[in-house]
């Protein structure tokens, strides 16, 4: 899932200082699941903004809406008419969602309420961890299901650096050394084989990336980049 967290309230307030009527737009998928941009957060953020602005003597109208996904054009169409009544849209989706909405709504400014942080996993107790870098060249079958690209501070793919101590990363002692984890999972012989296979050089992807499926095209031209 895509993990995102709410921007500092001051920053959001600053972004909205020139607007009088905004729509706070939640996203019902990843950011709902990571408890940062779903319907309940929309209610709370809208409430906070209204209260803060009222206290400043500069009231703001903050409408509330949540759609299932801001990364699909059909869902954005559902709010197009309503959105046109607002000065700006404050999107609580990930960066993809914000751009999806901005691309569809034309003139209306679309502003991000979130900082999109990573692709991650939940531990079920309120913590999320980055585990995938979306590098486009998966090697998890070789590394015991543990990704060094995303989980090594230096993204080293051919073994640990010299800085790892006591199983912990030298960059941040809060994190385990991912190569230590891979070693623990694979054992020595498999690790050696893994490192051998890793020696080939990997090409870095060129941004922006695309995925085109000719078979899924239906008559109209594919959506141009947003």
């Amino acid at each position: 899932m895509i993990v995102a967290e709410l921007k500092p309230f001051e920053e959001i307030k600053e972004m909205l200082k020139d607007y009088k009527k905004i729509m706070v737009l939640g996203c019902g998928t990843c950011v709902t699941v990571c408890m940062s941009g779903g319907e309940r957060q929309v209610e709370l953020l809208a409430f906070s903004l209204k209260m803060a602005r009222k206290l400043e003597g500069n009231e703001i109208v903050a409408g509330e809406k949540t759609i299932l996904r801001q990364c699909d054009p059909e869902f954005i169409d559902q709010i197009k008419d309503e959105a046109s009544q607002y000065d700006a849209i404050l999107s609580m989706a990930c960066g993809a969602g914000v751009q999806g909405v901005a691309g569809k709504l034309g003139e209306i400014p679309v502003l991000p309420a979130m900082n999109t942080t990573f692709l991650g996993l939940s531990d079920g107790h309120g913590s999320w961890f980055e585990v995938c870098a979306a590098c486009g060249n998966c090697i998890l079958h070789k590394t015991g299901g543990i990704c060094p690209v995303a989980r090594c501070a230096k993204s080293l793919i051919n073994g640990p650096c010299g800085g790892s101590q006591g199983g912990l990363c030298e960059v941040s002692k809060d994190n385990p050394c991912v190569w230590q984890l891979i070693y623990a999972r694979l054992g020595k012989p498999d690790l050696v084989r893994c490192l051998g296979e890793m020696s080939k050089s990997r090409t870095r992807p060129v941004n922006p990336r695309k995925m085109m499926r000719e078979d899924l095209k239906v008559k109209k031209e594919p959506t141009k980049g947003v």
Binding site: T32, E39, E43, L44, F47, M51, E56, T66, G124
Partner: protein, 673 residues
Amino acid sequence: MTEKAMPPCQAACPIRTDVRGYVSEIARGDAEEAIRIIRRVNPLPSVCGRICTRLCEKACRRAQVDEPVSIRALKRFAADQTKSLKLLELPQNSYNENIAIVGGGPAGLTAAHDLAWLGYKVTIFEAQNVLGGLLSEGIPEYRLPKKLVKEEIDNILALGIKAKTGKLLGKDFTLEELLKDYQAVFLAVGSQKSLLPRCKGSELSGVISGVEFLKQVNRGQMQILGDSVLVIGGGHTAIDAARTCIRLGCSDVTIIYRRTLDEMPAGPEEVEDAEREGVKMMYLTSPVEFMGEGKVRSVKFVKMELGEPEASGRRRPMPLENSEFELQADTVISAIGYIPDAEALIHNGLNINKKGTVIVQDDTGITNIKGVFAGGDVVTGPLSVIEAMASGRRAAEAIHRHFRNQTEQELANVVALRSLDDDVVKLINKSERKKMPALPVKERIHNFAEVDLGYTYEEACREALRCLNCAAGASVSETCAACLNCVRVCPFGVPVPGKEIAELDISQCQACGICASECPASAISLQIDGKADFRQELDQVIDSARQETPEILVIGFYCRYDSPIGPPFDSDELYWIARCCMGGLKELQILYPFETGVEGVLAHACKKDECRFRDGSRWLLEHIKRAKRILKETGLGEDRLSLVLGEEEFTSFRERLNTLGINPLRDRKKVGP
């Protein structure tokens, strides 16, 4: 057919009383709303609050944890507390048909009530001089005061029902005659003819029937019984007769029953009461012969043992060989059951079966005579008051359909919520059932004063809060994002990951509201706690507070489970809102009062480890923290919100609010959605 699981108490009630609904109103301290809910289906709440056989309590799932909720006592509380409340609603419609009700007992009264309310012209024909049937004459005053029965009957008659008392079917009128003036007749004459044991000597004087005996005492016709009385039978009538004998001064009263306490139709509580008053019990004993010359002097009995179960499920008692013995008796009261008086029924052309009861087509009570419906004990044989009432209701519906040419509505299939899983039962805190306060034995055995005294306000609130809110818990809507937070936070482990959304088995939900308050998609709602209700309640509280115009206004939230009889403490500027578990109090609910200009909000937390739902205080703390952060960010200041454990903390909180001054948002336009 639609299927919706009902709380077991409601499913078990023959008239489908919304038991959970009125019990939860009592838990909130609102007896008026409780009686409104009861009266919607029950025109005899005071009566049922005292003598109902309470099938609801037998079904109550609280019994899986400790003991059932004392539902009947709560109904009585609601009825007793609201005596002065006028609830009479007059019929909306008016129809031309005249309907005769023959028999003014519970079945007849209920049918009369329902038909009059629908708009028909109803006349009750009652053989006795008072209405009520067994309610007025068959149940002793100490258990059901006649004054209350009369009040409830008067309430029913106030719908415009005529009553003709002292009119006996077969003697004063016939069905044929009735059908000339009335377009339909509901026959509910009950079953009043007592059965006598089939043994020698039952014709002796001094051998009397239980129902007859109770009627005579109720009419004030005193009996000369002698010192020793033997009462034969194990039902309510037997117990009533024995306890009445004690009150009439008999020194030696024994109930003889052929089975054991476990099989007794009267409950153990009634038996216990009788024993405390001095009634002796003799089980597994059956009469063989009544002996004496002209008048009974003694009874020969035989001991019994229980054999194979019979059709009723109870084990059949079998006589033990050579176990006969004799007991002296001045009077023998037989209370082994009663049947309808078949003679009058046959004479009036009704088809009756071998048991002497009227044959009807189905539940609706249609008989072999066109326009004549029958219900209550005359159809079923002796059952309970509540079942007779249900029968009256079905007949009234059938009669209405008959006149309005409506087809029978397809009734929703009643499915009772299934029982609690053992894993859930283990996690529910035990809570003792409050015994009904009663007159001390010394003060009751020489008179007919009502024995049970009824709950006080506090006792009723506490008892009502024992209700597990069956089927009123959480449900997940399709906006669920399957984040599984509910699965993680539920103190009872009820929600589980489903294929698309979280699945929440409402039969196991305890309605604490924690999952709903933590759901990021606002996809969970609790039936007992709607969002709109909360805003409405809060606005009302704030509006009424504003009229008092206090300098500083504070809204306090407290938990009903923690403080059952009302707010934990009081102060002039403090206005309380009760919640059932504070864990379900959402951040926005905590914050909303500030928007309306309130100076401070406090939440009274329950004592550590005393939360009814285990985790409530923990979640309250989290929600307070998050709300404080928002108050800080918006500039109103986090000090205006406080978690308070007692009055002392409130004092310092109030001082802090005095320093902070009035809420800058006060008296400005609301900004809420």
